[in-house]
Amino acid sequence: MRYIEWAVMFLVAGVGIALANFVGFQVNFMDSVPGILILLAISFVSVVISKLVPFKLPVIAYCSLIGLLVASPLCPAREFVIEAAGKINFTAPLTMVGAYAGISISDQLKEFAKQGWKMLLIAALVMIGTFTCSAIIAQIVLSLTHVI
């Protein structure tokens, strides 16, 4: 995608976030705007960096790192960033993700129906195993390092 396409797609996403934040959480559009602009700016900068840097990392890794950076004590605008982003409800950006994701898997429905119970069971085990094993290790290390 070209930068201009990314930029316009992000703006559409911003409209989606504002809409979800208003319909679901009664936050006015104007109150959502600063937070959304910050999120979109971080996203756009991440896209630019991921295209420029030869070392390939997923775009979302940059989004997360830059987000962390601008909200960390290193950033002079920290308070503003945290307050503005705080207006955006946690799940508000997700509804649009779901809409696109739903459309994008809609042609796999028949494939899904063809999967037998064995694969369903294994998929469940894979998810349970991944989550539980991470939780066990985290629990042990957090205890050992006296964080909890």
Partner: protein
């Protein structure tokens, strides 16, 4: 993202071909967020339905196999748009992590080490897959949580027509259809055991699948509202690390471990399956 040829000649063509998708997404948002959250107690856990589930459902409904509002090209276009929407969400999580930076730093060692937990699933799922009679498909299915990068990796390593890639694709499809809702529910069941601190659960949510992490985090935040910020911060940090190391973990540890375990277990568990299948009612 990989460097690739442009799908469209320019912004104009993209908007002309995709405006229906944007419009549908906005309509889905109005419907989904009007319904809002629904909590359903289910066994030891709580099934919390978020607007994202309704919008996924509406998206699937509108596709070429049911309502046929969208056809194949739009399905393809939508899959490219997912990343656009997930970016601002991850940025939001990054900000949460920055706001709770002390928690993230103090949890540093745990954050790094729990990444290896993502491999733990192999010891649980592979033996059972073999008992169920799967062969090499099991290696693809069990080596990781099988999101996009893993799918590409399996096709690259074993070939697109290999049983390993087929196994990976199966889990990928199931994960896409029901993974989001299952992952959130599973998190509440495991949380309700009381064995784990909410911080551990938050970290465990970051498995390299943004949408699954999102529902697990949202669900856990509902269960532990007082620690919602820290849970989100740790989940986001863990997800970021998984996003970076996931492909290397799978390539250098996950796949070799699966191969090794397969070689050890298949000769033992394969015959057990055959015996059970022979005795029980016939399987396909």
């Amino acid at each position: 993202m990989k460097q690739q040829e442009f799908m469209y000649s320019g912004l104009g063509e993209r908007l002309k071909k995709e405006w229906k998708i944007y419009l549908a997404a906005l309509i889905f948002i109005i419907i989904a967020d009007s319904i809002g959250q629904i909590k359903i107690p289910l066994g030891p856990g709580t099934l919390i339905l978020f607007p994202i589930f309704y919008s996924i459902f509406l998206g699937i409904l509108s596709g070429p196999q049911i309502l046929k509002i969208f056809k194949k090209p739009e399905v393809k276009a939508a899959s490219k748009l997912v990343i656009v929407c997930i970016c601002p969400f991850i940025a939001k999580l990054g900000i949460n992590a920055g706001a709770s930076i002390e928690t993230v730093i103090s949890a540093g060692p745990a954050l790094l080490l729990q990444e290896f937990g993502n491999l733990g699933t192999i010891f649980l799922s592979l033996p059972i897959a073999l008992l169920l009679g799967l062969k090499r498909e099991a290696v693809g299915a069990c080596h990781s949580i099988n999101r996009e990068t893993n799918l590409a990796l399996m096709q690259d390593v074993f070939g697109p027509d290999s049983p390993e890639a087929r196994g990976s694709l199966s889990i990928y499809i199931i994960g896409g259809m029901v993974g989001t809702i299952f992952f959130g529910f599973m998190a509440t069941v495991i949380a309700s055991t009381g064995l784990f601190h909410p911080y551990s659960l938050g970290m465990a949510s970051g498995v390299g699948a943004g949408i699954m992490m999102a529902t697990a985090t949202a669900t856990l935040s509902e269960m532990f509202p007082a620690m919602a910020d820290q849970i989100g911060a740790l989940a986001s940090a863990s997800e970021t690390i998984s996003g970076i190391d996931g492909i290397y973990m799978a390539l250098f540890v996950g796949i070799p471990l699966c191969n090794w375990l397969y070689g050890k277990l298949e000769p033992k568990l394969g015959p057990i399956h055959d015996k059970l299948a022979g005795k029980g009612k016939g399987e396909k």
